[in-house]
Symmetry: C2
Subunit: 204 residues, 2 copies
DNA sequence: TTTCTGAATAATCAACAAACTATTCATTCT
DNA sequence: AGAATGAATAGTTTGTTGATTATTCAGAAA
């Protein structure tokens, strides 16, 4: 019985409880009982309850990141299409997750209020994906950017509204998607169009 | 003693109380006493306490709007400079207001949670300013936009983060300003620069 | 009649106690 | 020794009670 296998046993038990009863209504004693151990023993594997939640979120997020990274460098799609895929995938994922599942919303808000550095970690990872997208664009000769890290930050700033959609508005998914398309167009073509390129068309 | 003059007497009294003791700690009875009237009589002039707060906010905001509108059509400044002036003025105003004054923050959050339509009204007004800016740009031959209302909406979407800065981040004003400059650059020049134009330089 | 009052009402808030639960750690296994 | 327990602690949540206060409205002034 390795330390890691116990950790994942705990995570699995917590995942079931959290998604069934919610984070707040799940006690450490219950998680421990599900793992046939004492509450105190949990602390040999996790510093606290929140860290279990974080482990769940982080596991889930990591698999999502892989999907994003593939989209960022997808062959057959030009830079703008890849960016669009990225932002839309992200929007849909969080929207659906938080929309249909109040438990997920509870966990998201607990983590983001108690562990703001976790949200920063996620943002930093997404920036890596954006940079990868731009590196790929450069490699393919689609376009080059002087300061990719900064451009990535600015893309995040401008699309903030779509990151935790239900935190900042009560728009439906179709409305959000339509708006994201508009913002994307703004970012790609600028306020005053310089050429005929469209969001869904060819990159410059 | 016209109805309007009584209304503004009430608003003035409430303004003093709210800014001194806060919205929550001010009672209708106190406001009434300050106006030498009975609590019940307030309701002949305002439907409720929140409406008094709204009247204060709206008065304040209206005078701010005038400033914005002037900036939007300022002679001697090109379109990008005018947009920059607009967004920066707005950012600084809300930042300073909410930063130094916890009372203002209390009122802002009460109003925006109990009266979400008020926030929409403000957004709609700012869109009018943005459209005015673009109309002026067209008049001057700086650039034209097919759907100005939509462009205005997208500018708002992309600059959401700077609208209620302390609600969504704990960045300092200089950081926020720097970031807003970056987003502005993104919106003006697009992700892949088409020409040498800079944010603080000439419009296309 | 129209304008206002202020007591009555209903809703919200504050304070306090009881109950619960995350976390620790002295002690018991193995 | 190291691994695990579970009672003790400390912090938080929950529930209750007693004000406080927004709002109403029957009636008094004007």
């Amino acid at each position: 019985m390795t330390k890691d296998s116990v950790r994942s046993q705990i995570v699995e038990a917590a995942k079931k409880r959290f998604s069934h009863f919610g984070y707040g209504k799940t006690t450490m004693a219950e998680i421990a009982a599900d793992c046939s151990m004492s509450p105190g023993n949990l602390y040999r594997f996790f510093p606290g309850k929140l860290d279990i939640a974080e482990a769940i979120a982080s596991e889930d997020y990591t698999s999502h990141l892989e999907v994003l990274m593939k989209l960022a460098v997808a062959p057959k799609r030009n830079a703008v299409e890849r960016l669009r895929d990225l932002l839309f995938t992200e929007l849909r994922r969080t929207y659906n997750k938080l929309e249909k599942d109040p438990r997920a919303l509870e966990m998201a808000s607990v983590i983001s209020s108690e562990r703001p550095e976790f949200a920063n970690w996620m943002l930093a990872n997404e920036r890596k994906v954006l940079v990868a997208l731009m590196d790929e664009a450069e490699r393919r000769g689609e376009f080059t950017s002087e300061d990719k890290e900064k451009t990535a930050e600015m893309i995040q700033s401008a699309t903030m509204k779509f990151r935790y959609p239900q935190l900042w508005s009560k728009l439906t998914l179709p409305k959000l998607e339509h708006e994201l398309d508009g913002v994307l167009d703004l970012m790609v073509n600028g306020i005053c169009p310089h050429h005929a390129g469209q969001v869904t068309g060819e990159a410059a």
